[in-house]
Symmetry: C2
């Protein structure tokens, strides 16, 4: 059964770009969004104008701010929302997802597929819905006007994994019918922990908080990650790698990632960042009210630290960033962030987690 129809949930820049691009490729696309505002011009135009790396018009056959039984007709569901909304989207979709549908989070951040799956089950959905997550959003994009979006560039390759990984082939076959740039990750543990945004987003924003609030522009990577800030980022990265190791994964460090993704080498992280021409001119956020804290802390650092705590891996720098960012934003990211319970991993050992994400085997007592 070939994929003909794709539902896209989320009409931010990524969701609009996804809907437009798939429409342009000839798929029948539905676009859902909680608020109607971005949808109205799309409904009026019958689709989305695409510019940049890909130009044209992507028809969208259906736009809606409520999900109904028609979701069942879309074999592939692309979720392109901030990770903090994954559970809510799952609850929203739960009554209408059935056997054979495939849901992919772009991206999952840390534990997105696990949280989505758990929320579906909690909402009473027992259907054979295959949930997976991509390691990153496949393109850089920006909304440039009503019903108009620009794609700056595609990633060369994006890894994705199904939950459980035993069904990776099935997920990838479906996904690649639509977007061939996806390749299989080992499991959602890999896509979840190979989360470079978790390393590069919250810490430098936190350690530049007053400068961001001063309103003076500065370059986020090249000026915001000074030698001292780079040492904190490296300590955080080492904790991420230690959590991954406790789950049997050997991931590359942020510094190795810079070398592989950009050919940017350096004796340390600071030098590697300075050596990366792709970071030139990337400005810092203009406010601390920004997804670098509000998404990356609760949906990346909190679940990583929760895994660390469960597995006996100390994450003091990660914990510190979570608490300081919470104090800075006046919120408790521990409470509102992605917990082991939300990911359906409460009480599991490293081995039980591995068995569940790879083979789908879960001890009876663990089943929600």
């Amino acid at each position: 059964m070939r994929v003909r129809r794709v539902a896209v949930i989320g009409a931010g820049h990524g969701g609009q770009a996804m809907a437009a691009y798939l429409g342009l490729l000839g798929f029948r696309v539905a676009l859902y969004n909680r608020s109607a505002a971005p949808l109205e011009p799309i409904a009026a135009a019958g689709g989305i104008f695409l510019e940049g790396e890909v130009g044209g018009f992507g028809p969208v056959e259906r736009v809606a701010c409520t999900i109904g039984p028609e979701l069942r007709r879309y074999r592939l569901v692309m979720v392109v929302v901030p990770a903090t909304a994954h559970r809510q989207v799952a609850r929203w979709c739960a009554p209408f997802l059935g056997d054979g549908q495939v849901v992919v989070l772009h991206p999952g951040r840390t534990g997105g597929a696990l949280a989505f799956h758990t929320a579906l089950r909690e909402a009473g959905n027992r259907a054979d819905v295959l949930v997976g997550e991509a390691q990153t959003l496949l393109f850089a994009s920006r909304v440039t006007g009503p019903a108009r979006v620009r794609i700056y560039g595609f990633k060369r390759q994006v890894r994705a994994a199904a939950l459980p990984a035993a069904r990776n082939a099935e997920l990838l076959a479906t996904l690649r019918e639509v977007l061939p740039l996806f390749t299989a990750a080992d499991s959602v543990l890999e896509t979840s922990l190979d989360n470079i945004g978790a390393v590069f987003h919250p810490a430098p924003l936190l350690l530049n908080a007053a400068r961001v609030e001063s309103g003076e522009p500065f370059e986020y990577y090249r000026q915001g990650i000074s030698p001292a800030v780079a040492r904190v980022v490296e300590a955080l990265d080492a904790e991420r790698l230690a959590v991954a190791r406790a789950l049997g994964l050997r991931l590359r460090s942020a510094r190795q990632w810079l070398a592989e993704a950009y050919g940017a080498w350096g004796a340390g992280l600071y030098e590697a960042i300075q050596a990366n021409p792709a970071y030139r001119g990337i400005g810092a956020p203009l406010s601390v009210e920004h997804r670098y804290l509000d998404e990356d802390v609760p949906a990346s650092l909190v679940p990583m630290a929760a895994l660390g705590r469960r597995l006996g891996v100390p994450t003091p720098v990660m914990d510190g960033i979570i608490h300081l960012a919470g104090a800075l934003r006046g919120t408790d990211y521990w409470r509102c962030g992605r917990s082991l319970a939300e990911m359906g991993l409460e009480g599991m050992s490293a081995e039980q987690i591995q068995r569940w994400v790879t083979l789908g085997e879960m001890d009876e007592a663990m089943v929600v």
Copy 2:
């Protein structure tokens, strides 16, 4: 017995100002310092030139970089060194301190007198040496040349406490013979926890790390403590007050302190800092290699957090600052900072700590 001779340990700006001022007042002053460099011009001149709030020449009868039996002749010993050196100074003095001598730390930061007393005992000194600490250094000063120091201004009043507080009258009588601006604090818990530097120094420096390293000058308080940074500082301050409360102390908040010390009022800490004319023009440190981290973290935040942990008071923001500052400076402040053991408080309950610092009563099992 009137005080005639005062030993000053430490020849930084504070120690030189202390020695010069006491010399000018007519006391016979010895000045000790680990390194000989600042002492040589003082030895050559026979004292220190004083300028600023007080002008003149303060004779110094003895300068030395080793301490010997002659220390016994100085009834009052003023320790004016970074708090991270308190234990080392105690070990240095231990063989030469005897009954009736009074040692005062200017200031103790958090747990200075406790740490000094414990180090004396550990070094085998069992004499009746009265150890106390001041809440802050009594003047603002700066070294302006060889054997030359400027006092910018005196605090109106500085609180000090003896260990135990039952001997406050004795300590204050001795101290006030020399410097009448001292008044009695409840106990060293008050001088140790009413530590505003611990609140205002490490967190803003950490949250401005890249800006400090950029070399661009900015005002430490008025620009470095933006609204978001102020929220972190207030969360930290609330933890300090909670630790104090667990020890039976009701201390004023940093915001109340700004109102009392400077008449600077505001709806929140940010507004109070903006309203404080005394903070105008105070530049930020030029490097993260600075006592705001290297002294205030190990000798203020670490002992406060250790007390919190012992007493079941969560200090997640404080812990976070300690860990992030450690990562930033490439050191483990938990390990090198002031522990409960160093303060001689290991295993004590809140009530045992209170009894020890106020009455000098210690359970047999606790005696070093």
